[in-house]
Structures are given as C-alpha cells and as structure tokens.
C-alpha cells in the first residue's frame, strides 16, 4: 500500500514541478494571456466548465467517440498485424497498401469519409479509427515477427492449431509491442479526435478547442489540453500500465524498470 502511494507520488512529481514553474514564471514575466494563459485563469475556466456542466458533456462525448474509434481499430488492426506477421502472402499483398495509406491524414479523409459513413458520428469515428489503425497494425506486426521461431515451432509440434497459435503464442508473444502500439495509437486517437471534432458537432473537447481558438481564449485551449492529457494518463495508469506489469514484466519479457 505504502509502495503504491509512493509510486503514485513519484508519478505526479514531474507535473507538480511543471505546475509550479507555470504558476511562477507566467506572472513574473507578465506574459500576455493571448500568448499563454495564467494558471489561475485556466483553473477558473475549469471551474466554470464544471459548474455549468459543459466540460463534463464535452468529456463524455469525446470519450465515447475515442472509445468507439479505438476499439474498432484494435479489433481490426491486431488480427491484421498478426496475419501479416504470420503469412507471407497476406504480408506481401498488404504491405504496399499499408505503405501507401498510412500517411493519409484523417482530415484529408473528411470529405470522402462523409460520403461513405455519413456526416457526423460516422466521419468522426472514421478519422479516429484511421489515426489508431496503422500504428497498432505495424506494432503488432513487429511483435509477431520478433517471436523466436522455435517458440512458434514448439507450439505447432505440441498440437496448437491456428486459433491456439493465435491466442497462446502470437498474442502473448507480441504483447509488448501491442501495448506500445496501443499506447502510441491512443495518443493519436486523441489527436484525430481534435481534428475530427471541428465538423458536425457542438459538443466534445475538440469542438471546445475549436471555438476557443476563434475567440483567442487560450485558457480554454490549455484547459482542453490538460483535460485530454489527464484523461489519457488515467487510462494509461489504470489500464495499460497494470496490464504491462501483470504480463510482459511478470513474464520477464522486458526488463523491469
């Protein structure tokens, strides 16, 4: 218990340092709030947002979109990455397509995604999906292809069929990379969300930033950034990091940090 408390404290320490620097330096150099807002005004914007309920609404809406987009992407990306890692045929067919499509920015897709998936939720989800998908696929692919061949052979000669090979060998073996893929992918999901929420919505953190930008409300922009960062940290600490500890660190597949 004490150990967990202290590790949580250590985790927060860098942020506390950052907050202190912010609280001290911005007023000290008398920075124009249009360049960077004061801590107090961001706090105030946060309190207002909570009091009138809008902040919570934005968070809810964004979380839902990120969740749907990301889960869809994971459902498709992980099996695809595994397939590419295992089958030379799949890999030689998909590699060129992946190379080509992986750089196409979500916002560029908006007009086309709107035609295909409808204006609003469909297009937004697609943009998020697009942000997560490639990164997770590539990481899964790498994870699968770094599993030592003899381990895969061992499973095959113990009678592992395709399904067992997937669940018993390929997925756990690729897990370190999949987790890193999800970690980077989710980061990009948030970015995709910000880009996508300029369309078709009047709720969501991206929308909040979008409107704030038009009126130079930097404190709202920074508030939005902090909210996104904190949500993401919570997710990482409550979901990804424990998974990592319970699996790949436990199994001795990566060095404990």
């Amino acid at each position: 218990m004490l150990h967990r408390l202290s590790s949580a404290l250590w985790f927060c320490a860098p942020f506390i340092v950052l907050l202190v620097l912010w609280a001290v330096f911005i007023p000290y150099f008398d920075v124009n709030p249009r360049l960077f807002p004061h801590l107090s005004s961001v706090v105030q914007a946060g309190i207002e947002g909570i009091q009138d309920g809008t902040l919570i609404q934005h968070i809810k809406a964004s979380l839902l979109r990120v969740a749907v987009g990301t889960v869809l992407a994971l459902i498709i990306a992980v099996p695809l990455g595994v397939a590419m890692g295992v089958s030379p045929i799949v890999s030689s067919f998909l590699t060129p397509l992946f190379r080509f499509f992986s750089v196409l920015a979500g916002i560029a897709w908006i007009p086309i995604a709107t035609l295909w998936f409808g204006y609003g939720f469909g297009a937004i989800t697609f943009v998020i999906f697009n942000a997560v998908f490639f990164i997770v696929t590539y990481n899964t692919l790498l994870g699968v292809s770094t599993i030592p061949l003899h381990v895969r052979n061992a499973a095959a000669s113990l009678g592992a069929g395709r399904w067992a090979m997937l669940t018993e060998v390929l997925l756990p073996g690729a897990l370190p990379n999949i987790v890193t893929g999800i970690r980077t992918g989710l980061g990009f999901a948030w970015r995709g969300l910000i880009a996508a929420e300029m369309i078709a919505t009047n709720v969501g953190l991206g929308y909040m930033l979008f409107v704030a930008r038009d009126f130079y409300r930097t404190e709202v922009i920074v508030l939005g950034m902090i909210v996104i960062g904190v949500l993401w940290l919570l997710l990482d600490r409550l979901v990804l990091a424990p998974i990592e500890r319970a699996t790949i660190e436990r199994w001795g597949m990566v060095q404990r940090a």
Partner: protein, 252 residues
C-alpha cells in the same frame, strides 16, 4: 506409433545476404521402425539439429523425402513431439502451464491436464517450480521443463535434441532411466541427439554416427532391456559398444 523413412535427404542453407550456401545435410537415408529408439551422435555442426528440424517439419528440405507413418512431412504436428536444444519454453506461461500445453491443445480438461503435468513435473523433480515462469528457472530446470513438456503430450514420434545437456549427472541418470521406462510403456518412435556416447548406447536400439552431413555408420545396440545404470556400468558388451561408438565419433 509411426515409422519414419528418410530417403536421400539434403539441406542447403542459402544466405541471401552473403550469397553463400552451406550444405548442412548430404544425401542422408534412414529407416526407423515403429517404436524404435535411435540415437544420433556426431561432432558439433554436423547437421543433427538440421535433420531433426526437417523431420519435425520446421524447415523445408532441399532434396530427398521424409515420410512419417508413410506420409510426407508437410509441417509441424502433434504426432511428432520435439525437445529443443534451445528449450523454447513459452515465457508467458508458468512451468505447469508449459507442461500442460500439449494436453490443453488436445482439449483435455483443466483439472485432468494439470494432474498429468504435475505427474511429469514430479518425475523431473520440478514440483516446487510448478508456479514459476521460465525466466525464473535455472538452465537445467528449463531444459527439464522442455523435456517433460514433450513427454506429457505422448506423441507418436519423439524428437529430442540434446535434451539432457544441461542436466546434472545424477538427475540425468534418473531421466534416462525414466525415459526408457516411458518408452517401453508407450513405445513411441524416438530420435535422440546426444554428445554423450554412454547415453546414446544406454538408450538406443541403434546409434547413428553422422559426420559432415553424412551418415558415417549405424551400430545396432543389442543390450537386453530393461536397462539400468547399476547393471550396465560394468557390462562388457556395453563397454565394447561404447568404445566402438566413441571411436567412430573420434574419427568423424
């Protein structure tokens, strides 16, 4: 239980980067009958593991053919259990789960397969380590897990690559005796690679000496069974055979 036929088998490794070829196995032919126990000996790098890998279906051969139970080998399968020179344990599974893996693949129920795994672990003196992960084991312990993992699956053909190399003398003797016992009970066809001449003679019906990718000679071991170290240690025939094999390996 299946027999094994190898005809004119060859294997050339091609290195696409250096553009060079290494021919590891040359035109090897071999017949192993149902339930026979064959040991392969030969100097390091003479192609033993390569042959085993081809029988197991892990790597393609570049010439000749391999028939297991009359059918050509297409890929790995649970009919051929393998003990790897490099252990190849699943790092993400405990020792118990590693050993129970084969039965699990066959669909054996959890309680049942854990019972099986525990029995085999006891045999390899690994009961204490059942709950640990492979990264927490000593080298010899890892190797023993690899051995009993293959045994627990009761395959028709057992392919063992220096399975006792990292095991201490005492445990090794126990394991050798256990292996012959299990073999006599279930009668799998066994191909066993070793550097230990005494081990080869103790275990095998036939010892095959390899040299530079070719079969040098085959020696039938006509010692009576059941064999035990106590009875064989001073056996003249055992000594004679061992001497012959040792001679062969030396000349290889």
């Amino acid at each position: 239980m299946k027999n094994l036929t190898i005809r004119n088998l060859s294997k050339t490794y091609f290195d696409p980067y250096a553009g060079t070829n290494v021919t590891a196995v040359h035109d090897v032919s071999l017949n192993v009958g149902q339930g026979e126990f064959v040991c392969i000996v030969g100097p390091s790098g003479c192609g033993k593991t390569t042959i085993l890998n081809m029988i197991a279906g892990f790597i393609p051969h570049t010439g000749g053919e391999i028939l297991v139970g009359g059918r050509p080998v297409k890929g790995p399968g649970p009919d051929r259990g393998v003990v790897f020179q490099s252990f190849a344990l699943f790092p993400w599974r405990t020792v118990l789960e590693n050993v129970a893996f084969g039965p699990k693949m066959r669909g054996v129920r959890k309680a049942e397969r854990e019972k099986i795994a525990h029995e085999y672990l006891a045999l390899a003196k690994l009961t204490e380590a059942a709950g640990r992960y492979p990264a927490e084991l000593s080298g010899g312990m890892q190797q023993r897990v690899g051995v009993v993992r293959a045994l627990a699956n009761e395959p028709d053909v057992l392919l063992m690559d220096e399975p006792f190399a990292s095991v201490d003398a005492q445990t090794r003797m126990t394991l050798q005796e256990e292996l012959t016992r299990i073999w006599q009970e279930k009668r799998p066809t066994v191909i066993f690679i070793t550097h230990d001449v005494a081990e080869a003679v103790f275990l095998a019906n036939r010892v095959i000496a390899l040299s530079k990718g070719r079969v040098l000679e085959e020696i039938d071991v006509d010692l009576p069974r059941p064999r035990s170290w106590d009875s064989l240690n001073d056996d003249a025939r055992f000594k004679e055979l061992s001497g012959r094999v040792r001679q062969l390996v030396r000349s290889a």
